[in-house]
């Protein structure tokens, strides 16, 4: 126990040292973080309270149905925490140099596991914990709950719920690493992606929200009569169900049933802790050795992927320097399984989104609803662009890594390196974004003005978000971090993502009123009035260009820093 406390103390001291760094630059960084994280938390709190109020008071969906929706939300939250922990755990438990160092000391591997698991859990789940807390505060404040409800729910319900997700991730990981030593990491990762996609698909096929509403509404207003028969049996074994049930019975003043669900949740946590502890004691060291051996056995040649036209040593049409940078980026990207697998996953999600869009009725007869649906789809497109940019553009400068010396000492203008990164990312992001925009706009209304607005605004969003992520990625560059996923889930990355959300929020505010007027003219009077949209699109363009120039000047200034 003493060794665990010692290592955790060192880590906590390092964290405090950077948090309490009062130099101007650090102070600016910390204050910006506080502002943006705080702003988003307040936004989520308000949204949570308003949605709870709307669904219960205006839509009259009833407490039961509301908590079933909450359960679905918690399921997505659970999977996100679980997947996030699994991805980051692989880096922290198996690839980190710190583990190699600690394994060389007279510290048991079990203790190393405990330290790295705690480190990993808070590293990969702290932003989600903040969002969860904001949601809880919004939810509780609607029901006017007392202060101790929040404290209790945070520490005894939300945190254990997230821990269950994290522990399941680490248990699975230990098993998977062992399997990987036999079948290879690439096939294993591809298998994991498929399993997670299937899990989400199956859950929502069984717990179909539309079906749920229809079935419950059949019995309206005697909704409670249907409660016992509604849930598919396997749902009752999921932690999200226990949390939503705990909340439902708490709000229904039935503390006995609330406590029963809470006990199941805590017993599960206890059981999983024992299993994880046993597995760590028995299997962590062998699986760590297996992972090291898998890494060292890799390769034997330049790689399994052979794309001849991208091979070094072939003449290209670009300048020699740009050509060299492009080929290097191509191979470094496609030889790193976590990079191309994530890209594949993003493409799959995009396909799922486009297919789902096809089954929705988005041509609405009420102008305001049509405005809302247009903006929701636009926001979702923006969210996807922000996610892709965060995952692939933000780490671009950090991924220069320790080998950046060879570029910095070569006769290449450093601005050229930056612009090369920008254009390579922007072309990819713009391509994805415009596909999304065309498909969404066409499905909504086959209207050239709306399609034009969607295309232009999406191009502006792609420009702003790509430049924001690249600039912030240069500002928060972590050249020592080899894992792109850790770079994309760092504090700087979360901050950039949240800033991107604020930017998207501003665009929605710019568009909402003029778009509503446009739909009023179109739907109620049957006449197109594109003049209503000219000025807002110009305003979106100006805002995006400001973001582009601001981010790019920060990026260009910081990439020149001492290396």
């Amino acid at each position: 126990m003493r060794e665990i406390a010692l290592v955790l103390n060192v880590k906590a001291a390092g964290f405090l040292k950077s948090a309490l760094d009062f130099r101007v630059q650090s102070l600016f960084k910390n204050l910006s973080s506080l502002l943006i994280f705080g702003g988003v938390a307040v936004g989520v709190f308000l949204l949570s309270r308003a949605s709870t109020g709307y669904l219960l008071q205006q839509a009259h969906i009833g407490l039961f149905l509301f908590h079933r929706f909450l359960s679905m939300l918690l399921y997505v939250f659970f999977i996100t925490v679980n997947l996030g922990n699994m991805i980051v755990c692989y880096a922290t438990l198996y690839r980190s140099e710190e583990v190699g160092f600690l394994m060389g000391l007279p510290v048991s591997h079990y203790k190393v596991f405990v330290v790295k698991f705690i480190d990993n859990f808070f590293y990969s789940s702290s932003t989600l914990l903040l969002l969860g807390l904001a949601l809880l505060l919004g939810y509780g404040s609607y029901f006017s709950m007392p202060w101790y409800f929040y404290l209790f729910t945070l520490f005894v319900v939300l945190l254990p719920f997230m821990l269950i997700a994290g522990i399941i991730a680490v248990i699975l990981l230990m098993v998977l690493v062992k399997i990987a030593s036999r079948i290879g990491i690439r096939w294993l990762l591809a298998g994991i992606v498929l399993v997670y996609l299937s899990a989400i698909y199956l859950y929502f096929s069984v717990v179909n929200p539309v079906l749920l509403v229809q079935e419950v509404m059949k019995h309206y207003p005697d909704v409670n009569a249907y409660f016992g028969y509604l849930d598919p049996p396997f749902i009752r074994y999921l932690p999200n169900h226990w949390v939503s049930e705990y909340l439902y019975w708490t709000m229904s003043d039935d503390s006995g049933r609330a406590a029963a669900n809470l006990v199941i949740l805590l017993l599960t946590l206890g059981g999983l802790l024992v299993v994880a502890g046993f597995m760590a004691w028995r299997y962590y060291y062998p699986s760590w050795l297996a992972a090291a051996s898998t890494r060292s056995q890799r390769g034997g040649g330049p790689g399994w992927l052979t794309v001849r036209f991208m091979s070094f040593g072939r003449p290209g049409i670009l300048s020699r320097q740009t050509d060299a940078l492009l080929r290097r980026d191509f191979w470094v990207f496609f030889r790193e399984p976590s990079q191309w697998l994530h890209l594949l996953l993003m493409f799959l999600l995009l396909m799922v989104f486009l297919v789902s869009m096809g089954s929705l009725e988005l041509r609405l007869s009420q102008p305001f609803l049509q405005t809302v649906s247009f903006l929701v789809v636009f926001l979702f497109d923006g969210f996807l662009i922000a996610s892709v940019s965060l995952r692939f553009v933000f780490p671009a400068v950090s991924l220069e890594g320790d080998a950046f010396w060879c570029v910095r000492s070569a006769p290449v203008p450093i601005q050229k390196v930056y612009w090369h990164k920008f254009f390579a990312s922007f072309v990819l992001v713009l391509f994805l974004a415009e596909i999304l925009a065309i498909v969404s706009a066409t499905m909504m209304r086959d209207n050239p003005v709306l399609t034009g607005v969607a295309l232009l605004c999406t191009a502006f969003v792609a420009l702003a978000l790509t430049s924001m992520n690249l600039g912030a990625g240069a500002y928060f560059a972590a050249y020592r971090e080899r894992n792109p996923i850790r770079v994309a889930s760092s504090q700087g990355a979360s901050l950039t993502f949240l800033a991107g959300m604020v930017y998207l929020g501003c665009i929605v505010m710019i568009l909402v009123v003029p778009l509503n007027r446009y739909f009023e003219m179109l739907i109620l009077r049957g006449s197109s009035a594109p003049e209503w949209l000219t000025l807002p699109v110009v305003a979106v363009g100006v805002l995006s260009l400001l973001m582009f120039f601001g981010s790019t000047s920060i990026g260009l200034a910081t990439i020149r820093r001492d290396y």
Binding site: P302, F312, G313, R320, A403, P411
Partner: protein, 235 residues
Amino acid sequence: MIELRNVTKRFGTFKAVDNVSLQIGQGQFFGFLGPNGAGKTTTIKMLTGLYAPSEGVCLVNGHDIHRDPLPAKRSIGYVPDQPFLYEKLSGREFLSFIGGLFEMSVEQIRDRIDECIEVFEIGDFIDRRAEEYSQGMRQRIVLAAALMHDPKVLVIDEPLVGLDPRSSRLVKDRLKERTTNGLTIFMSTHLLEIVEELCDRIAIIKQGRIIYEETQNAMRRFNGQLEAMFLELTK
């Protein structure tokens, strides 16, 4: 060929390098010595454009590396203290990449790689990915990369760390051979016997300041006593 004029580097209030001035002519093999943390690597990083000096000027082949970096960098080959490579690229791909950055043609790169394979004996592993390399293999690839574009100046930070005796001999011979052909070498090292064997001139840096400098080709004067002098000066 290399000139440092009153170069100072500050990190906050700490002066890592304090008013250093040096002049190294063409074809000289210059040894830069000093205890740990004396400012050797910081000086080298300023000389190669990785750090901007707080004061003073670093000239390479007559060009200020910070005001006029591109021509200065074209003249330099650099070997860092840690031979970091792109783990996912093979040695051959890394050398091709470096050749591209120095704007060499595809044919020139191919020829130079063939030459490097022979000179540095890297043929056995050049097509394997860097993630499989040992320290010595990496060191030889980085040395080959530094000489790919036939530089006028070679700046080396601890060149023989991690090399086995055979590779070490190979590298020493190649470096000495290059200086006779006009290459200027600026080498930082802790290995005094190598300095005695290879260098024409030396300077010793301590706490950021040059405390000793041989201005003429006078290494023979030490006659095996360099270690004693170094220990005396840096105590």
